[in-house]
Amino acid sequence: MSGHHHDHGHDDHDHDHGAEKPWQAVRTEALESLLNDLGIISSARIDEIVSHYEDKIGPKSGARVVARAWTDPAFKARLLADGLAACAELGLGGPETEYLHVVENTATVHNVVVCTLCSCYPWTILGLPPAWYKSSAYRSRAVREPRRVLAEMGLTLADDVTIQVWDSVSEIRYLVLPERPPGAEGMTEDELADIVTRDAMIGVARVQV
């Protein structure tokens, strides 16, 4: 959002109002306008959904789940048994996922999530996926050469670590339960939630103190 196309120079000829509205914006606006006129949807609801996904949910919800699992073994057991039910205990969840399967990283097994066909993602607890998750490169290469892809993204795994790649589909979403990092032994649940990143819950990064 920052920077480009907002460089209103003081020179009169430098104004950037000439940028055409992209056709996608015109198309979307037209669809919304027509469907609103027909009473099928309301524009107010559209605005609500946008602000909900932009402001209210995001990877912080998932981070709370991970921090709870690290500090409460009984919760962790429930989370691994039934991800959605355990998330619901924390008031998280929603209609987008039928089944949430939580996969636990250990010293010998590393899990990473991809959606090979589109970009299925546990929206309700991680927010919306980052751009790279939707890219053709990640979606194809994470399956063919996961170890190399992870290394390129800054996560180098020892050769004796097994990598499991999970392919999200519309009925099943995956959440990686990262390893609690060394140095985090004395941290409170809230402090732990602050260090858990979105990338760690997709499985392309480690949690670091």
């Binding site: 509205k21 306008s33 099928i40 949807i41 959904i49 946008v50 995001g58 890219s135 053709s136």
Partner: protein, 135 residues
């Protein structure tokens, strides 16, 4: 030695955490889809299938690189599904789109015309003054 697609750059997302959309229309298309599924026009699973078709067709000849590539497929998938459901008066789309383009263009023209007077000085004045009627 270097892979075809270098993912190194991707690890650092271009947008800060939480900023899910690169352009406003992407958010609008996303929300429109959720709102339609809330109203039962289609299920999210049905939308997913439609999206998979469009992404598959696109990737036969190209690659999805950024949010724009992805959400453009999203709009195509949404239109496919709306056409299939027959909820949209398709004939009205071009008319509504033309209005939107015209509005945007006239707003732009208006900004340029109104910004400066004939001598090139900035005009700072109310566009309309509605004075109390004399009684």
């Amino acid at each position: 030695m270097r892979p075809v697609h270098d993912l190194g750059r991707l690890a650092a997302p271009s947008a800060p955490d939480g900023l899910a959309f690169e352009q406003p229309w992407e958010a609008q298309a996303f929300a429109l889809t959720l709102a339609l599924s809330e109203r039962g026009v289609f299920t999210l699973e049905e939308f997913q299938q439609s999206l998979i078709s469009r992404i598959g067709a696109y990737e036969a000849t190209a690659c999805i690189v950024g949010g724009e590539d992805y959400y453009t497929r999203w709009i195509e998938a949404l239109q496919d599904l709306l056409a299939e459901r027959g909820v949209l008066p398709a004939a009205r789309m071009p008319v509504v789109e033309a209005d939107i383009v015209f509005d945007a263009a006239s707003r732009k023209a208006h900004q340029h015309l109104s910004a400066r007077d004939a001598d090139g000085r900035l005009k700072i004045a109310p566009l309309v003054i509605d004075r109390p009627s004399a009684t």
